[in-house]
């Protein structure tokens, strides 16, 4: 690696190559990386690349441009690691992974127990088909969750809109987790280890809360719970 100074580091990992870019601003780093790829195209050809960009903030336009450039050269970019939440969101929007491997369930559980109770992820909807939200705490969606979308939360899920996708609350075994929505009609609803499918609609739509009661998944109108 004599020709490439410390801007770029390439490491073989189980899932392909891990490329770490550091020490310069974005457009330069991108150029250095692409140039490096062109110089050693036989080495990179057909590779699956995970990219570590440290704290650099990347927007959709920048990241998708890089992804397209790489794909023209026969390289699949599958993950982007970053300390910046902007870059992480961008990568998620483009359907790229932001972790190299899924955390082991036990580790996640430990992480959840360490989280403050009010740790929530806020999502502006609609969450469309193919959209997937995975979060250790609670998830709040402002807008509809359409069929084909999926939410997996360690805590509870609140949907200010119609919930029609797949939702899993208490994914790490929290049986106190609840799911509420203005219109509760999920394709499938899971709380902790229990699964239910929405019954066919009857009557008018009203806000409902689903929870686990004595090991049974039940959905109750919101008003009945608050009217007491």
């Amino acid at each position: 690696m004599d020709k490439t100074p410390s801007f770029i580091q390439i490491k073989g990992i189980r899932d392909g190559l891990l490329v770490t870019l550091d020490g310069a601003a974005w457009p330069e780093l991108e150029t250095i990386f692409v140039k490096n790829v062109d110089e050693r195209s036989s080495f990179f050809q057909g590779a699956r690349v995970a990219l570590n960009v440290g704290a650099i903030e990347l927007r959709v336009a920048e990241l998708s441009a890089l992804r397209d450039q790489l794909s023209e050269r026969g390289i699949a970019l599958w993950a982007v690691l970053s300390e910046s939440s902007v870059t992480e969101t961008t990568a998620q929007n483009l359907g790229l992974a932001t972790r190299l491997t899924k955390p082991h369930p036990v580790d996640v559980r430990d992480a959840v127990e360490g989280l403050p109770e009010n740790s929530s992820k806020w999502i502006k909807g609609p969450l469309r088909s193919g959209g997937r939200v995975l979060f250790e705490g609670n998830v709040v969606v402002m807008g509809d969750v359409n069929p084909g979308a999926e939410i997996v939360a360690g805590g509870s899920v609140i949907v200010w809109g119609r919930l029609r996708g797949v939702v899993h609350a208490g994914a790490q075994g929290d049986e106190k987790a609840v799911v509420c929505a203005l219109e509760l009609a999920p394709t499938q609803l899971r709380i902790a280890g229990d699964i239910a499918v929405s019954p066919k609609k009857q009557g008018k739509n009203q806000p409902e809360v689903a929870s686990l009661k004595d090991g049974q998944l039940v959905a109750e109108p919101w008003q009945d719970l608050t009217g007491r």
Binding site: V60, N93, R128, G130, G148
Partner: protein, 262 residues
């Protein structure tokens, strides 16, 4: 001149993308606009057939991109209209023959010469779709009033949002008012409710569309049929006009009475 690039996409196949590209292009050209349509479905080209220009293909999209011909040479002029051109897809290659940045370069060159560039996206959400939307200023998402097509449209709209392609506009094709009245088909409201995007056109089910496609004579050329009018309306809305939506319920009295008895 800086032309606008409009891509028509759907996710699901068979909802009427190619037919719509042909008809919207024809409709725009009939208003005196200079239009080029591009068939993005490399390997499964169809737009040339629907436009009735199949036998005039010499060069195609991939030839232009790989530099075997000049852009002008691949633009087939439709003689029925003053300024309508087609850049056909290659049939012997596949989607990987071009890349999103090739499309951006090509469209930037074309923008100088025409008012409208209408791109026909292939079905799916892979390379061909990415190529087709790369240069788009606007994307029209096409769907039919049925659950699976709407589901795929939703996915495509989500992808467009992720790529920051601006708000998509929705075209509902093969709409059958009688079936909707019977409660056997999703209504326009049902579809809009789910997708939550702006509507730009509703095209009624019309068997003339199939006849016209087979003959290579796009419906929008004569403009008498309901579907032809709907395409004309979409083209006018693209040009910025406010056009009211077609009244589907004002069929003749007899039909209405019969419909109600069922």
């Amino acid at each position: 001149m800086t032309g606008k690039v409009v891509t028509i996409a759907s996710g699901k196949g068979g909802v009427g993308k190619t037919t719509s590209v042909a008809n919207i292009s024809v409709a725009l050209a009939s208003h005196g606009q200079k239009v080029t349509c591009i068939d993005g479905d490399i390997g499964l080209r169809n737009l040339d057939v629907v436009l009735g220009l199949e036998n005039r293909i010499v060069y195609d999209l991939v030839d232009v991109i790989e530099g075997r011909c000049r852009l002008r040479q691949a633009m087939i002029r439709d003689k029925r209209l003053p300024e309508l051109y087609l850049i056909p897809a290659a049939q012997t290659r596949d989607k990987t023959a071009i890349s999103p940045s090739d499309m951006v370069r090509l469209c930037d060159e074309l923008r100088q010469e025409v008012d409208w560039i209408i791109i026909d996206s292939p079905a799916g959400i892979e390379r061909g779709f990415k190529n087709a939307i790369a240069a788009a200023d606007r994307v029209l998402v096409m769907t039919n009033p049925e659950v699976s097509a709407v589901r795929d449209a939703d996915r495509v709209i989500g992808l467009l949002e992720a790529e920051e392609k601006g708000p998509a506009a929705l075209v509902i094709n093969r709409y059958d008012p009688a079936m909707v009245r019977r409660g056997d088909m999703l209504s326009v409201e049902d579809v809009l409710d789910l997708l939550a995007v702006e509507l730009i056109g509703i095209i009624p089910e019309d068997e003339n569309v199939i006849v016209a496609s087979n003959r290579g004579q796009p419906l929008a050329l004569d403009g008498k049929s309901k579907a032809g009018q709907a395409f004309q309306n979409i083209s006018r809305r693209l040009m910025g006009e406010q056009v009211p939506y077609m009244e589907f319920d004002s069929q003749n009295l007899l039909q209405r009475l019969l419909g109600r008895k069922k």
